[in-house]
């Protein structure tokens, strides 16, 4: 079955309450320079309450791991962000474009499937028009769909299974 942790488990598992608000993380953050993500504040918010799940800056993290590598308290910041995202997703808080990517995976087994323009490019290079992935192997695609169904993935994303 699909599953997300509770916010209490995230706080416990990733040492979120050890944060001393030093700001090393936010000072290292490429996204914070360009967008409204303030990872120091986000960590504090995760440690305080469930409301962190609807903080839109959760989705501005590129998962570059700069913060996690440098945090003097050894907090697994990115792992915590990913876990909080999964709580959000399980409560239906998914950005529309991400829902579309999830649907592509469920339909094609690829988040970025082939299209005609790129079949053309493949042939120009002397490659088969379809790669040797699930695109050429319908039985494997069937397995991928069975696995997604077994995990209940379609229920989370509201897309098809």
């Amino acid at each position: 079955m699909a599953g997300a942790p509770s916010i209490e488990e995230v706080i416990e598992d990733f040492n979120v309450l050890k944060c001393m608000q030093c700001g090393v993380c936010s000072g290292s953050c490429p996204s914070g320079r360009q967008a409204s993500l303030n990872v120091r504040r986000l960590v504090r918010k995760i440690g305080r309450d469930h409301a962190a799940i609807s903080d839109e800056s959760l989705w501005m993290c590129t998962t570059c791991y700069n913060c996690q590598e440098r945090c003097p308290r050894g907090i697994a910041i990115v792992d915590a962000i990913l876990a909080v995202r999964s709580i959000a997703a399980h409560e239906g808080l998914i950005l529309e474009r991400h829902r579309q990517v999830a649907n592509l995976l469920q339909e094609h087994g690829h988040a970025v499937p082939i299209d005609d323009a790129h079949k053309e490019k493949r042939m120009q290079l002397g490659l088969n028009s379809l790669p040797s992935t699930v695109h050429s192997h319908p039985d494997d695609l069937k397995d991928v769909k069975l696995l997604l169904a077994s995990c209940g993935f379609g229920d989370i994303t509201g897309g098809k299974e």
Partner: protein, 297 residues
């Protein structure tokens, strides 16, 4: 020598097939025992799928890994995203019996089982530690006198707790692999910074991703290089298609982007057209001409 299966992922075969072609050329020329991992799916992309549901991420990643376990080969990735996803999932399942059991119960639905018998490799780390700079030097047929801006990208090296590579802040493996081909790896500010695409940011918050990319391109522009060299098709796309988007907004950079496999194939004597450098989204014809001129020397 180690046997490997090449994991293609999504972006390489479906958006930048020149990298697929180039990688085959490189593995063949270096005498590596390899085959493509037939029937593989999306890794699945960690930014979106790991973010949504860890059990699903582990189930899909482990299916890809078990395909390679059946072949008794390590998985070779040519994408930082695929590497991050598959290597992290592989380690998690090897180290956590509860997750392994949960994942195997999903896999049993399709008659597969995760055993934990193989490793996941990244082409840069693999070439450096299994093949070696010396062997590459002996195999190439020409030196490429290019000034390049190297972009390591994030997940090749991080999280460092899950990686064998030495330094996160000042690594040299990739630089050494590039310089042995005759190129100069030019130092520039924020060399170790992210391209902006990862974590699902490119797919859902494109403008944020593009702002990070523009910052990095600005630093690279100042370094006055012939091209950017990376080892990840997602970074490749972000810099390549990103420059097209930035040009539409009136910010023109004109810095060609190539994957390390393509660079290595060039030094093995192949032409830019052989490995699809002309198939980038941005116009690379000047760069292709430069490369074809170099070839005549």
């Amino acid at each position: 020598m180690m046997k490997i299966s090449l994991f293609l992922g999504c972006l390489v075969p479906n958006r930048y097939p020149g990298i697929e072609k180039a990688t085959g050329i490189c593995l063949e020329s270096l005498g590596i025992d390899w085959k493509e991992l037939e029937g593989a799916s999306c890794c699945p992309a960690p930014g979106v799928f790991r973010s949504f549901d860890e059990p699903t991420w582990l189930a899909l990643a482990s299916r890809n890994i078990t395909l390679s376990e059946t072949d008794e080969r390590d998985v070779l990735t040519i994408c930082n995203g695929c590497y991050g996803s598959l290597a992290d999932a592989n380690l998690k399942l090897k180290n956590n019996p509860v997750l392994k059991e949960q994942t195997n119960s999903h896999l049993s639905q399709i008659g597969r089982h995760f055993d934990g018998t193989i490793d996941v490799r990244h082409i840069i780390e693999f070439l450096y530690s299994e093949i070696g700079v010396q062997k590459i030097k002996e195999t190439i047929v020409r030196q490429l006198d290019l000034k390049v801006a190297l972009h390591y990208g994030c997940h090749m090296l991080k999280p460092s707790s899950n990686r064998a590579t030495a330094s996160v802040e000042h690594p040299s493996v990739f630089d050494e692999l590039v310089e042995v081909l005759g190129c100069t790896s030019v130092d520039y500010p924020d060399k170790m910074e992210c391209c902006g695409a990862g974590g699902g940011v490119r797919s859902a918050l494109g403008e944020t991703a593009l702002a990070i990319t523009e910052h990095k391109l600005g630093k690279i522009e100042g370094a006055d290089v012939d091209c950017i060299v990376e080892a990840c098709p997602f970074c490749h796309m972000q810099f390549d298609a990103g420059q097209v988007s930035l040009a539409e907004k009136g910010r023109e950079f004109g810095i060609p982007v190539i994957h390390y496999s393509q660079l290595l194939a060039l030094s093995l004597g192949y032409s830019p057209e052989d490995v699809g450098i002309n198939l980038n989204e941005m116009d690379c014809s000047d760069f292709c001409n430069l490369l074809n001129e170099l070839k005549k020397d």
